[in-house]
């Protein structure tokens, strides 16, 4: 199990906890650098999922028998654990399927109309743009030439009194942290409801917001299972939402004519949830908590610096977003390769010939990627089990690959 003695050798200390890292890919060590898509699962998370299915397995909130009470108590204990992790109260946490569902729940639940303006981040994920576009008139918060949010333009947009301001804490493409605290305060002063996509920042322990009404993140991006997301609605914000689904678990009382909705968060969790997944999320948070937010953040920054340095040292690479030492970045970097059109092939070679897993594509942020290149990008995203040696290894592999796949100059 993890030892928190030292920050600098975090990967060495945690790797043994991840069973999949013992796997070999055609005789090579597995290097997993697609963490912005999803993260690997440590043994305590796998064990906790197994514990639920082998020792508990009952439904929640539906019985007095021992297994059901155990399931209910454990499920609600994870809700409180999540609240503590996120800096909100226990009744301000809704379990969803993922971040996407959480953001859709807010976009559909606020009663928006076609006359309402919602500001959305230009460097945001599709999940923080399309739901708003469906329910209201979306306006992009632009980024400047270096990929940073253009605060001047943002301030002008706020003068239009948007009903909602949706922000991305950390871009899943550039890895850049937006100044969400400042932006949320500005939005509140303009009278907007504020929503933050925290899917990429939660894994690094960077939550705890002021002036943010809603924020969402996913378990699977922070060592937890797939199929569990979290929506936090601070200071009564959850009661603003019209539940999209009704049924079991959402009501206190029903007769043939009327029904009484249960208090938030339960009214927003219709039907049997992913109970096992919530158990796993609890184990993931406990695991991250033992490492500590400061250690996670320090490691993230160190890897981000190394990624930037390696990329800048290679003239054949173009980096999407700022890489200067002052940039507040996560260890996620997206690259275009001069002279290489087929980045899917590069990703495939990295996987099959080097054992390095990273992603190519538009990263569910096509407007941003299209503004940078007429092609896809290659994304390298690291997490706590990756070390600087692995970051160097992927760039060294790119050197070799590019030599063979680049079009002649």
């Amino acid at each position: 199990m993890i030892d928190t003695e030292s920050v600098t050798d975090l990967p060495r200390r945690v790797r043994a906890d991840f069973p999949i890292l013992g796997r070999r890919v055609d005789g090579r060590d597995l290097v997993y650098l697609d963490n912005a898509a999803t993260t690997l699962k440590p043994r305590p998370v796998v064990d906790e999922l197994t514990r639920y299915y082998t020792e508990v397995s009952a439904n929640i909130h539906r019985g007095k028998h021992r297994l059901s009470e155990t399931a209910s108590a454990d499920f609600e204990a994870v809700r409180r654990q999540v609240a503590h992790f996120a800096g909100v109260r226990g009744d301000e946490v809704v379990f969803t399927l993922n971040t996407t569902e959480a953001l859709n729940l807010v976009a559909s639940g606020l009663g928006l109309g076609s006359g309402d303006v919602v500001l959305v981040p230009f460097d945001g994920h599709h999940s923080n743009a399309l739901p708003w576009r469906r329910h209201a008139r979306a306006r992009h918060i632009p980024v400047d030439g270096s990929g940073r949010v253009d605060l001047e333009a943002y301030e002008k947009l706020l003068r239009g009194r948007p009903r909602v301001v949706a922000l991305s804490h950390c871009s899943n493409v550039t890895g850049v942290y937006a100044p969400v605290q400042k932006m949320a305060t500005m939005a509140k002063e303009a009278g907007a409801v504020t929503v933050v996509d925290a899917a990429q920042s939660a894994p690094h322990g960077r939550l705890h917001f002021d002036d943010v009404d809603f924020f969402a993140f996913s378990a699977h991006k922070m060592l937890g299972p797939t199929g569990v997301g979290v929506l936090c609605g601070a200071d009564g914000a959850l009661s603003l939402l019209d539940p999209p689904n009704l049924g079991g678990g959402t009501v206190d009382w029903v007769d043939t004519e009327r029904y009484q909705l249960r208090r938030p968060p339960h009214r927003l969790e219709a039907g049997t949830p992913n109970i096992g997944g919530v158990y796993g999320l609890g184990a993931a948070i406990a695991y991250l908590d033992r490492i500590g937010a400061a250690a996670l953040a320090a490691h993230d920054r160190a890897l981000a610096r190394r990624q930037a340095a390696e990329a800048l040292a290679r003239p054949y690479l173009r980096v999407l977003g700022p890489v200067s030492p002052s940039a507040d970045r996560s260890a996620t970097i997206s690259l275009a390769i001069r002279g290489v059109r087929n980045l899917r092939e590069v990703a495939r070679i990295l996987s099959d010939s080097y054992g390095i897993m990273c992603r190519s594509g538009h990263m569910c942020a096509q407007p941003l990627v299209d503004s940078f290149t007429d092609n896809e990008v290659l994304r390298i995203s690291a997490y706590l089990y990756n070390d600087e040696g692995q970051v160097a290894r992927v760039f060294a592999a790119l050197d070799e690959i590019v030599e063979t796949v680049a079009a002649p100059a």
Binding site: E69, A73, E76
Partner: protein, 443 residues
């Protein structure tokens, strides 16, 4: 009986009459209660002639009573449906789940004996005009149904007339509607006394005050379920001024076991039960030594408990208290998982020591000290001031003095602190178990 007087000097809390009563309960159990007659179960000595024989009587556990409930643990011919029988559950889940039945009259008698240590509280409870009581703590089950403000009062009124106020399994996340409902019901029920979790009650009072509402009048408040912190007690005193407030230790299985006297010291009821504070290997604990309390009922002819491991940790002393009560002095230290074990300190540190170090900080609403590793302790607190620097520096300094230099101590201000799986927020929690009775007997 000469042997007893020697024992009374050696063993704090030993009471000769209670011992004889316990022996009678044991003989009764062996004759009439199926669990104690079960084939294959160790029966203990054929005859109890004194404490040495008694020490060979097998200990029982919560699981024994739960697994055999009710058929195996009720005396032959008795049923749960008899008038005056209370069937008790508890907020525990899994292995902590309690299933027990007890006669209401026996509970009342035990309470009266315990209350002798606090005459003003006794007068408020036993002499209260309404005779009614109310309870405010996490619901017994974690299901949201229990917390619903739409549950009618009648469905939350127990057989002895106690109204269980609506609550949530997470005191610091109770919504305002539920808090308002609890306050309204408390006013309507007008109990003579309220039994409450101190942290949950303090939160309720804070929120009522924030909403400009007055606390409903209550004659007496008994703080139980979790250790009452000074911070919570200050808040309760501020809002419930004239009420008699005292801390008590109660158990679903037995009722009242201990109560705080007017001097603020806790007294153990060693008359209604035969109590045995046991340390390593089942050895009787020395005065002041951390021990698990093992309890045998006295006069229970429905479902006697014999050498029952409560899981609760105490220290018991044999010195007199300035209050004049002859019930022995004790300190309830919580359960395994609520004491800190730190390097350089031979004895675990309990919530009382931690609370003394934290002190009565007016800038603090609630706190929790937690330990995941032996050399790492964290204090998290909900402040009621914006600038927390002085508050935090003071907290760290005082806790550092308590914990020593070999512990990495971190402090952080938070908005919220989560309750444990049973819905209760304890001031001190640890992942390192402390089980004095399970330790090997010293060589």
């Amino acid at each position: 009986m000469a042997e007893y007087s020697v024992l009374q000097r050696r063993r704090p809390a030993f009471d000769a009459d209670a011992f004889e009563g316990a022996v009678a309960d044991f003989e009764f159990a062996r004759a009439r209660v199926p669990f104690f007659r079960r084939e294959g179960r160790e029966q203990g000595p054929a005859r109890i002639d004194g404490p040495a024989d008694w020490a060979r009587v097998p200990l029982t556990r919560r699981a024994d009573y739960r697994a055999d409930f009710p058929r195996g643990v009720l005396a032959r011919g008795r049923t749960l449906g008899e008038p005056g029988t209370l069937v008790q559950g508890s907020g525990g889940v899994g292995d902590d789940r309690v299933a027990t039945a007890v006669r209401a009259v026996l509970l009342a008698a035990r309470r009266a004996v315990t209350l002798a240590a606090h005459p003003p509280l006794r007068d408020a409870i036993l002499g209260g005009a309404s005779g009614r009581s109310a309870r405010y703590t996490a619901p017994e089950c974690s299901g949201v149904e229990c917390a619903s403000p739409y549950t009618p009062m009648e469905r939350r009124t127990l057989g002895d007339g106690t109204l269980v106020l609506p609550s949530t399994p997470d005191p610091l996340a109770a919504p305002d509607a539920l808090l308002g409902r609890a306050a309204d019901e408390l006013r309507a029920h007008a109990p003579a006394w309220l039994e409450a979790d101190a942290t949950a009650l303090a939160f309720l009072l804070r929120r009522l005050a924030a909403a400009g509402r007055e606390a409903p009048p209550v004659g007496a408040i008994v703080l139980t379920y979790t250790p009452a912190t000074r911070v919570a007690r200050r808040r309760i005193a501020e809002h419930c001024g004239p009420a008699v407030v005292a801390e008590a230790v109660t158990m679903s299985e037995f009722g009242w076991l201990a109560v705080e006297c007017p001097r603020g010291l806790t007294h153990l009821n060693n008359r209604s039960y035969f109590v045995e504070p046991l340390a390593g290997g089942g050895r009787p604990a020395a005065p002041g030594e951390l021990a698990e309390m093992v309890v045998t009922s006295v006069g229970d002819r429905l479902s006697p408990h014999i050498r029952y491991r409560t899981g609760d940790l105490y220290r018991v002393w044999d010195e007199p208290c300035p209050c004049g009560s002859d019930l022995p002095l004790c300190r309830f230290e919580g359960r395994s998982g609520t004491l800190l074990t730190v390097p350089g300190r031979p004895a675990p540190i309990g919530a009382r020591d931690v609370d003394r170090a934290v002190g009565d900080c007016p800038e603090l609403d609630v706190y929790q000290v937690s330990q995941h590793r032996e050399d790492e302790v964290r204090v998290e607190y909900v402040p009621n001031v914006k600038d927390t620097r002085a508050l935090e520096d003071g907290l760290v300094e005082r806790l550092r003095a308590l914990l020593g230099e070999r512990v990495r101590l971190t402090a952080s201000a938070v908005r919220y602190l989560p309750a444990g799986p049973d819905g209760r927020l304890r001031p001190c929690v640890s992942d390192l178990p402390v089980r004095p009775l399970d330790q090997e007997r010293p060589a």
